[in-house]
Symmetry: C2
Subunit: 128 residues, 2 copies
DNA sequence: CAGGATCCCGACTGATACTG
DNA sequence: CAGTATCAGTCGGGATCCTG
């Protein structure tokens, strides 16, 4: 598929579903949780500690969504105290690469973007 | 840079900036506008028409952010009636590829995700 | 330990009306 | 044409308390 065909799939009407899913994948916590689970199986508390700034609520909600979408597996051990382990599924792991592509882009362009923000003031070009 | 080092950069404390920028890139409209501008220079109304569902306000706000971040250029022609043209900058164009990587992933996995959602009901595994 | 339930505020977003 | 201004509604998301 050509690059242009791809952009069409993002834009076109048939892309509603794609966009909806892209929205979910791209939200504040999803990429972060997936990236964290890249190291392997983790418990709820592990995730909570390793992801700075996430609230219990958001961690729970995002994990539920990821589980529902089949990107993360959830294993409950019937013990006292309870133990729940989260891990990436095969599909979840396949998200790592494209996610890193985007993260890599961000990392690479942070300096340019920050410089641009710092000097922003009616940079708009006027012609005619 | 290894893949693992990349995930660290998404996760680590030094990644706050990255995450903030990733958040902005990944919002509902940004990728869509960038993808639309991939075809070339477009006017405000063109964008408004080609992006189904976007409000005038959100189009304006998102374009301003993209301009501030140096991903989109804005050229005003001092004519009557006014004409304003938007185009991707070099940095903006460089976002296309990673964005497509993610979009490609989404497109490829939509069937699996939708199937997973459809059958979701306490799929959680219990052991012990 | 792993969350569920609640309260609540600010940000995101759409709709509408107005302007240079 | 290309916005700005304003109002209002929804919702993401944090804080807190409670439970199996």
């Amino acid at each position: 598929m050509s690059e242009y065909e791809h952009t069409c799939m993002i834009r076109g009407d048939g892309g509603r579903t794609i966009r909806a899913i892209l929205d979910q994948i791209c939200n504040k916590w999803t990429l972060l949780i997936v990236a964290t689970l890249d190291q392997g199986t983790l418990r709820f508390t592990d995730l909570h500690q390793q992801i700075p700034g996430i609230s219990q609520r958001m961690l729970t909600l995002t994990l539920r969504n990821l589980e529902r979408d089949g990107l993360v597996s959830r294993t409950v051990y019937a013990e006292v105290p309870p133990r729940v382990e989260y891990a990436l599924t095969t599909t979840g792991k396949s998200l790592i690469a494209p996610a890193l592509a985007l993260a890599g882009w961000a990392i690479e362009h942070v300096p340019h973007i920050e410089a641009s923000r710092a000097t922003y003031q009616a940079r708009t070009v006027t012609r005619g």
